[in-house]
């Protein structure tokens, strides 16, 4: 290589990049651009709803543009923290409902109490609660998702084709299916061992709680009798129905993948799982996960998203965009995609909407996220399912940890 050419090329390249970069800077976010961070689910799931909201917003606010930047769940908080520190946070951000309280408490969001959003009086109670803190509204409910049982109709047909009405019935059915297919990787009801959303549903089903408040302080409640009964029920169900390793989680592999591989007759998880079961797409249906009390649904975790306006954002315009994005037309479209809309006025009787009738939510403490990130519940579940410690011991360790963390 001729060194002089090399050096010259290097310099030209460097200079041109600097030029490109500098020219790009001016094309960044202009004064009249509303920056919106949505999760990538909207990009792959309902981009037309986003586009419609943008069009509506632009029509009502001439001269304004919307820049929607899609984020992923795993990394959006780290990015959000950085933008808060750098003073260039987006105007609107989608937050998971379990993430809201910590940021509301820290003062990351603007108060939206006085603004009249569409359907504000009929917001889904469980979801709206996550957007409130200290009597003020910081988050507008966006959509929710409940958990249902997705099952293989062909396997069900070979086994009596009945929808179980109680956990006892479900266990009996699972044992029957499991006896016919004894492969180590096949699960009658695939549940990842440390899927705490499922496990805590059993706890709440037996009247237990993760934590309660007493005299303004949080107290972990997993070591109480009701919660212990729930954990024991979870262990019974898991052992009868799922052959996943004790330490597995619902992320790797995702339950629908397991179904797609033909390794599960059913699974308990999000309502949209039917989308992704591969060749079994036409051989799956859903029902509501039964409670231990016959005829009732189990309380399911109500996962969902809120829309919030970070400090420094343009509150009026942000609120206008949120209104456009959460109006009846948008919500009807979201519901058609298998989501639960943010308002009871649009609620129907689909299987996931029926499942949402009984639900539970995480303790609304600003420190709850630390319990999640520290995987306190998952560690407890792995200890219980692997038999490394008794239910009581594992629960009391986790409970103490929760008490400590929530009161920090």
């Amino acid at each position: 290589m001729n060194i002089r050419i090399f050096a010259a090329a290097a310099l030209v390249a460097a200079l041109s990049v600097v030029a490109v970069g500098v020219s790009g800077a001016s094309g960044g976010s202009a004064a009249n651009t509303l920056t919106v961070w949505l999760q990538v689910d909207a990009q792959s799931g309902w981009p037309e709803v986003v586009a419609a909201a943008n069009a509506q917003f632009k029509a009502q606010n001439p001269g304004w543009d919307v820049d929607v930047q899609y984020q992923t769940w795993g990394t959006h908080l780290a990015k959000f923290d950085a933008t808060l520190a750098g003073g260039n946070a987006p105007d609107v951000i989608e937050m998971g409902n379990t993430e809201m309280t910590k940021y509301s408490a820290a003062g990351a969001f603007q108060d939206l109490t006085a603004i009249s959003f569409p359907n504000k009086s009929t917001w889904l109670a469980g979801l709206a609660a996550s957007g409130r803190y200290g009597g003020k509204i910081y988050g507008v409910p966006y959509y929710a998702g409940s958990r249902v049982v997705t099952y293989r109709t062909d396997i069900w047909r070979q086994n009596g084709n009945k929808v179980p009405q109680s956990q006892a019935e479900f266990i009996a059915l699972a044992k029957k299916i499991g006896a016919k297919n004894t492969a180590k990787t096949f699960s009658p009801v695939y549940i990842a061992g440390t899927d705490w959303y499922v496990a805590m549903s059993f706890v709440y089903d037996y009247g237990g709680k993760i934590a309660i408040t007493r005299k303004g302080k949080w107290v972990g409640a997993l070591d109480k009798r009701a919660a212990l009964a729930g954990l024991a029920a979870y262990k019974r169900f898991f052992e009868a129905a799922s052959r996943a390793p004790a330490g597995s989680n619902e992320g790797t592999p995702p339950p629908y993948d397991v179904m797609a591989h033909g390794n599960a007759a059913s699974t308990y998880g999000a309502g949209w799982f039917t989308c992704c079961v591969g060749d079994y797409k036409n051989r799956v249906a859903q029902f509501v996960m039964p409670s231990h009390t016959k005829g009732q649904p189990i309380p399911g975790f109500l996962g969902g998203s809120d829309l919030a306006v970070p400090v420094g954002g343009n509150k009026d315009k942000a609120a206008a965009w949120i209104s456009a994005f959460t109006d009846n037309a948008s919500m009807t479209a979201l519901r058609a995609k298998g989501n639960i809309p943010n308002t009871t006025s649009l609620l129907g009787t689909s299987v996931n909407e029926r499942a949402a009738r009984r639900s539970w939510f995480v303790p609304q403490s600003k420190n709850w996220v630390n319990v999640e990130n520290g995987n306190v519940l998952r560690t407890m579940l792995q200890r219980i399912l692997s038999g490394r410690s008794s239910i009581k011991d594992a629960a009391s360790v986790a409970s103490d940890n929760i008490t400590y963390t929530l009161n920090q």
Partner: protein, 301 residues
């Protein structure tokens, strides 16, 4: 051979050592064959993950989902590659990655070369301090710097901007580049340098005219490392570039598994394959120089 020995007994004395050489040669060949087998086994182990990535990328979904894997697809498909390339912003992101890497390699080579000359050829007060600074930066835990760095870039208006990432990568990579280049420059024989100075050129002039070409292999070797690290960097790119249209390939890839919906293994593996291709090409282009270059640098550093 034996017949020859029988027929001409006189030759025995001469043949015996030849037989020994042949035996030795045969033993050597056998030993080489054993080493070759070991080498091939190692090759299989080393390459398997890459092979599995590429093989998965060409499989139709039902083969990916199959419980008994096939090594090569019976019905290879380009579908996953098409899907990956049809994803939003693919070409923008490729362009971004190339811009960032190009700028980082070019700038770091120029800047690091100058500093390396200073360290290798001059004694000056504070050079030890400089060396300590360079190595100290190598040791910094990067995770701790993400937010403060973002704040600085925000002050310069460089967040969500390729230039911000270019500067960040420069800072991460300059210490390594300075350090290795210094070794290469020290490897240059003093006589050559003196000869250049006798010619009447200044010390610096001598470097640029005569000695720079000698350092070329070192520059190439260092630039490979810089290229690979910058191309593959994820943590800073992910935080600094918030908009998909401004992101680099590794961040773009994370959108395959960052959704709460299905992970598309075929698509992810196809996209990963695409991501790796430029690095492999770059490496193959400079492969011959690096083996030579790395030696000179490492030994003298």
């Amino acid at each position: 051979m034996t017949t020859a020995a029988e027929v001409v007994p006189k030759a025995v004395a001469a043949v015996a050592p030849r037989a020994a050489t042949i035996r030795r040669q045969r033993r050597r060949r056998l030993r080489r064959a054993v080493w070759n087998v070991v080498g091939l086994a190692l090759f299989v182990v080393l390459v398997f993950p890459v092979f599995w990535m590429v093989s998965t990328a060409f499989k139709p979904d039902n083969e990916i989902n199959s419980l008994s894997p096939t090594w090569f697809s019976a019905r290879p498909t380009l579908e996953h590659f098409r899907d990956a390339m049809a994803r939003p912003y693919f070409w923008e992101v490729v362009k971004n990655s190339l811009i960032v890497v190009g700028a980082v390699v070019a700038l770091s080579m120029v800047v690091a070369f100058l500093a390396a000359v200073a360290l290798a050829k001059y004694r000056f007060t504070g050079n030890k301090l400089f060396v300590v600074l360079v190595i100290g930066i190598l040791m910094l835990p990067q995770a701790g710097l993400v937010i403060p760095l973002y704040v600085v870039l925000a002050k310069y208006g460089l967040t969500n901007h390729l230039l911000g990432l270019v500067f960040t990568h420069l800072v991460i990579l300059l210490p390594f580049a300075v350090w290795t280049l210094r070794g290469f420059i020290m490897g240059i024989p003093k006589e050559l340098e003196e000869a250049a100075m006798v010619d009447g050129s200044s010390r610096l002039g001598a470097f640029t005219r005569i000695l720079l070409p000698l350092v070329a292999p070192g520059l190439v070797a260092t630039s490979v490392f810089v290229f690979i690290t910058s191309w593959n960097e994820y943590i800073f790119a992910n935080v600094i570039l918030t908009d998909q249209a401004n992101q680099t390939l590794t961040v773009w890839l994370s959108y395959f598994y960052g959704t709460s919906r299905a992970t598309d293994w075929g698509g992810l593996m196809a996209a990963s394959t695409l991501t790796a291709i430029p690095v492999v090409i770059f490496f193959l282009l400079v492969q011959r120089k690096i083996a030579f270059g790395l030696t000179a640098g490492a030994v003298k550093a």
